[in-house]
Symmetry: C2
Subunit: 353 residues, 2 copies
């Protein structure tokens, strides 16, 4: 390969010397027309600018022949559009977010966007830093999973007119479009199911944070408990602080076991997986000694024995709608105020309760 003198590949270095990148100017020269004409055609605005069919054709053809590739950087500098979206999740290695990321990737590419990602680890500081990096890199829009204490950060971005859609979680008081599942309904449904199955003493474990999704799960839980006239002995909410939550979880589970709850309701994917790890280690018999139900689906819940009943979020819908919203904001097609979507998920009944 390195020997063939005539191949355009192998000559790259040599060719590069004489032959810099092909630009619209080169094409214009070749055709003896103006660069602007070429630009209009090649940027897809030929029709809009009423360029003649013939001229258009000539341009596109020689562009192809000369091996023209638009310099997106130059275009971006000029137009302010990079064609890149920024995605901030809590942790891309968490299957929940990885799945979400994949769906978002698919949708984004349908609209011609690439996506940069980064993980916040649920830390506001990282969240802030990442977002600012994205903004500095001039992403056209941001898809964010808010974290604890991130409201002001997001608000600040919003005030700079960065197109943002919040996914999975949201801040009601921010006028930022959001796409979430109906966590209230989900909790409610799950509790009703537990009651129907005859469970009498329910332990609900959730993160101690004001983030919408966790809060709504808790509210759904409490509302349903209230609606079903459960006494305060029949249910309890256990809250985990973010730092060192694994240790706390261990302690809470010990407590739950000694206090004779008959079912644990994990308020999140990660809590469910980690909780299950602990329960398995303790060799707790599920569902005989203890029922288990968890938010979010996961391969783990399917492979654990017994398989774990859970509530699956409609991730595909979330991703789809998020991109509809975001592209609309970017294209100035919607007022971003009060735009939101809430989708219902589904209970997947298995053997754990």
């Amino acid at each position: 390969m390195a020997l063939s003198r005539s191949s355009s590949f192998t000559n790259d270095k040599i060719v590069n010397k004489s032959n810099k990148r092909i630009t619209i100017v080169d094409i214009a020269k070749e055709l003896a027309v103006s660069p602007s004409l070429v630009s209009m055609v090649l940027s897809g605005n030929g029709k809009k600018n009423r360029i003649s069919e013939k001229a258009s054709k000539r341009v596109t053809e020689t562009a192809k022949r000369m091996g023209y590739n638009p310099n997106l950087l130059a275009r971006a500098l000029r137009t302010g559009k990079t064609g890149v979206l920024g995605l901030i999740v809590a942790d891309i290695s968490n299957p929940f977010f990885a799945t979400l990321a994949r769906l978002i990737e698919n949708e984004a590419s349908r609209y011609g966007y690439g996506v940069m990602f980064a993980s916040s680890d649920e830390e506001a500081e990282k969240f802030n830093k990442i977002g600012n990096v994205f903004i500095t890199k001039q992403v056209d829009g941001l898809i964010i999973v808010p974290v604890k204490e991130s409201m002001e950060i997001i608000s600040e971005w919003h005030s700079r007119n960065i197109p943002i859609v919040s996914i999975d979680r949201y801040y009601e008081s921010l006028n930022i479009p959001y796409v979430v599942s109906d966590n209230f309904d989900a909790s409610y449904t799950m509790i009703k199911y537990l009651r129907k199955k005859g469970h009498n003493k329910i332990a609900f474990i959730v993160r101690n944070t004001n983030i919408s999704n966790f809060k709504e799960r808790e509210c759904g839980f409490l509302a349903c408990a209230n609606h079903l006239s459960l006494s305060s002995e029949q249910f309890h909410v256990f809250k985990l602080d973010n730092d060192n939550w694994k240790k706390e979880l261990q302690i809470i589970i010990d407590k739950i076991l000694t206090e004779g709850f008959d079912v644990i309701f994990f308020g999140q994917n990660m809590l469910g997986v980690e909780g299950l790890r602990i329960l398995n280690k303790l060799k707790i018999q599920i569902p005989d000694n203890l029922g288990v139900i968890s938010f979010d689906n996961s391969d783990v819940f399917e492979f654990n024995k017994p398989r774990i009943t859970c509530f699956e979020q409609p991730l595909k819908k979330l991703a789809e709608t998020t991109l509809v919203y975001l592209t609309n904001i970017i294209d100035d097609k919607i007022d971003d105020k009060q735009t939101y979507a809430k989708f219902k998920g589904r209970l997947i009944i298995r053997e754990s309760c």
Copy 2:
């Protein structure tokens, strides 16, 4: 913070109204110096260009005061460096790649790079398209997981002098740096372990492709079988074509069960998970009726009952080394020929065999 009027955050809106983006020209005017001086200081080349301490300080200070943010697009257009890396994995929603992506994200950010990702779904066509999008977007480098039939595509990119590091898989004949685990050793180790446990008839399931990792796993398997003088009845390699592999897997597993193999060796994470799903559905007793061992670790393998013995890859090392290589190539610090790293992983012994 939100109350302090002097904070740069709260004043942002007010500033934004009257004030378009602050550029080095604005700063230059303010200080009555030339834009080039400002540029030199702000781009960190002050020392190199022997700008006086005093001038440097004045520039940085007023830049901060005026709320200057460099326009990375303009810089990128000028320098040709975007500060973005492109990552092509087979599927970001696959926990194996999601974990890898997270580790790469961490490393990349240490070097000041952002990362765009996309999934090839093991399809050469998508792989090609994605990579070209990345290149068009002028990423500074590419981290790729090659797929079947992707050699020429990669070679073409390489010939265009795109910095590339291949991870997890590689093409020997391409002079492209790669970072992989020692798949040969892994297979070898696993088989030796199986033999030691007394297994006599081993079914090895792997994808039918020439991609390095799968090929080496197969070679390791065969070499070890040979080394241990296994007869041809004592082992067999089953190969799956990519399209519709799930159905094929089902058929192969049926065959394995009827032909009385006493252990299945899954040559990949996904095969292991899907295979296990099938075995569980058939209510096969593991390890009594059939032993199971798989490549790659996974939560599923930990939660399945019995837990699945597997071989874990040293993902962190892969990610670290990949970024060392890639940044070196980008900075022209190494000759990219014949640079590679192979790391050994570890066997995780559990109850499935």
